[in-house]
């Protein structure tokens, strides 16, 4: 009775152990190097596996950024049922504000990363949050109650406006900047015959991205699930008119949502700028497509969906770029989105659309 064997957990562990100890090392992922390491380490990871791990790390980095941006899409959609197409440009503006702050600080002679970084993040968050809230107030609030298409078109208009404004103010050329963090955390060094060593490493800027993303997600999760502001926000998302009848100032709650989403996008923008060291007025376009795909993949309206969707899109993109023709990596991400939507039209964590009263 094989099913019974698998069903009982201890036996399952035995099988897993068998696989780990016996089958996995004999697979081509690992190669045996006899007598190299003394301390009980018979197996050294093969280059294949190291390379895979490196792509995984890159994917997680990219995914964290997408997740931060996707949250903005999903929160606004959850409350207003609209796609804020200007969100990607908010992210771009966040990155530029980071560059500006960096420039000002450098001019002032302040270059210590531990000081520069928080100032950049805070400045970008504050100003971008202002932008987000202004966009909501000027472009979307007057259209509350209008047919759904109207704010959508306005959103695209705002997006074009922001792109052109930044292009005029900052120039159309790609700006490169000095990397703030150049050092790496080496996880594994693998000698390769006749070539330089292959190193599996995490850049400090990658660690920063993960740390900042986790911190933001933890704060957001506390805010949404535990605080009274978050409770009002969820209530407005579930039934806006009823929330208003209970005395919730719904416009203010919606404004808060834009502020939060914009601040997270600014964090993502600054982090990307630090990690990749390049920024131009078009970065919002690509990131917004990916983050939007992430939000839809995870189930738009769902916060955990946005995070998971972001990670998946980031991983798919990085792995594809690592193994297959890199020009097609965007296609891979979007094909995956289409496949998932064919099976689960409301996304991984989404609820089937219920028409609201």
């Amino acid at each position: 009775m094989p099913t019974a064997v698998f069903a009982s957990i201890p036996n399952g562990f035995v099988l897993l152990g068998f696989w780990l100890v016996y089958l996995l090392p004999s697979s081509p992922l690992f190669q045996r190097v006899d007598g190299v390491h003394a301390v009980g380490c018979f197996w050294i990871m093969s280059l294949t596996l190291l390379y895979f791990c490196q792509q995984l790390l890159n994917g997680l980095t990219l995914g964290a950024v997408y997740a931060l941006v996707a949250i903005g899409y999903t929160m606004v959609y959850g409350i207003l049922g609209m796609i804020n197409f200007a969100h990607g440009d908010i992210y771009m503006i966040g990155a530029f504000l980071g560059v500006l702050t960096l420039g000002v600080l450098t001019a002032l002679g302040i270059t210590a990363p531990w000081l520069v970084l928080p100032v950049m993040l805070v400045m970008a968050c504050l100003i971008t949050a202002g932008y987000g809230s202004a966009i909501e107030r000027l472009a979307y609030r007057p259209l509350r109650g209008a047919p759904r298409l109207a704010p959508l078109i306005t959103a695209i208009g705002v997006s074009i406006f922001l792109q052109n404004a930044v292009q005029q103010l900052q120039g159309a050329r790609v700006q490169t900047l000095q990397p703030l963090f150049t050092s790496n955390l080496v996880l594994w060094q693998q000698p390769v015959a006749g070539q330089p060593d292959f190193t599996l490493a995490i850049g400090h800027s990658q660690l920063l991205i993960w740390g900042a993303t986790l911190f933001c997600l933890a704060c957001l999760s506390w805010l949404i699930n535990r605080s009274s502001v978050g409770r009002a926000q969820r209530a407005v998302a579930q039934d806006l008119k009823m929330a208003a009848i209970l005395g919730v100032p719904t416009d203010r709650v919606i404004g808060t949502t834009f502020v939060l989403g914009s601040a997270l996008a600014a964090v993502a923008g600054v982090l990307v700028m630090i990690h990749y060291g390049v920024v131009d007025f078009m970065i919002g376009f690509n990131a917004s497509l990916k983050a939007f795909a992430a939000a839809v993949l995870g189930g738009i309206g769902s916060l955990s969906g946005a995070v998971v969707g972001g990670l998946i899109i980031g991983l798919v993109e990085a792995l594809w770029a690592g193994y297959l023709p890199g020009e097609y990596k965007d296609m891979a991400a979007f094909s995956l989105l289409i496949l998932v939507l064919l099976v689960r039209p409301s996304g991984l964590f989404g609820r089937p659309e219920v028409s609201k009263v």
């Binding site: 009274s228 409770r231 009002a232 969820r234 209530a235 579930q238 039934d239 008119k241 009823m242 929330a243 208003a244 009848i245 209970l246 005395g247 919730v248 100032p249 719904t250 009263v357």
Partner: protein, 234 residues
């Protein structure tokens, strides 16, 4: 306490309520009965400007409600148990109640929570449950409790008996009577004219958007027209 003067509510070209008048004195229970589509719910929601009446004024304790945004009205001392309950399904019962008390100081929250859980003892054991998974009767109790923790002076209810078993309806109406004895005025919309006229002091009959009859609940119960069309008597 409440006076609706000449209220008309339109949805685009549809006139749901036309020049309706209604008054409610402090401490009273006023019922509005009428057939499906008569405009009862529209009349109630026009108190909260959802939608705003196209003509007429609503006075609540001397304040003209028609000029106020919806969220300010809830803070004046009117609470609403709307048609279809409209509890927040993906929030716990406790969170639903906290939403009701959103503009109340935290100092009397414990006391208010105890009060509504003693009014509806089932809720006490369900505080952590997602409200959307409750039974219809329990959801109705949550909706009423959510309105009560706002400490209203006027409680507005739209068909609280809808879709509930008679025993639960009895329980809910007993609770409403008790609420009224504590000095809260009730404005009650009901399909179930029997129940409504039993509970109410004053009653109004609505028909295709207009108030066609009004009077004490007793007098309406004796009225042959009401008996024939709303009480189902031969």
């Amino acid at each position: 306490m409440l006076r609706m003067d000449n209220i008309s509510v339109h949805y685009g070209a549809i006139a749901a309520v036309e020049q309706a008048n209604l008054t409610l004195a402090a401490g009273q229970i006023v019922a509005v009965i009428g057939a499906n589509g008569a405009g009862k719910s529209s009349l109630l929601m026009s108190l909260f400007n959802q939608p705003r009446p196209v003509e007429g004024t609503v006075w609540f304790e001397g304040v003209n409600l028609t000029r106020l945004p919806t969220h300010r009205i809830g803070r004046l001392g009117i609470a609403c148990v709307p048609e279809g309950r409209r509890i927040f399904p993906r929030m716990s019962v406790l969170e639903n109640l906290q939403m009701g008390a959103i503009h109340q100081p935290k100092t009397h929250w414990q006391q208010d929570l105890e009060q509504v859980t003693s009014l509806f003892p089932v809720l006490a054991s369900r505080l952590g449950q997602m409200a959307g998974t409750l039974s219809g009767g329990e959801q109705q109790m949550v909706a009423i409790a959510r309105a009560l923790v706002a400490r209203p002076r006027l409680l507005v209810l739209d068909e609280p008996s809808l879709g509930l078993a008679p025993i639960i309806v009895q329980q809910i109406f007993a609770a409403l009577r008790q609420v009224n004895r504590q000095g809260i005025s009730l404005l009650l919309v009901e399909q179930n004219a029997h129940l409504a006229l039993q509970l109410a002091d004053q009653a109004y009959v609505m028909q295709t958007g207009r108030m066609v009859m009004q009077g004490s609940a007793d007098s309406l119960r004796q009225n042959p027209h009401v008996q024939q069309f709303y009480l189902g008597m031969a």
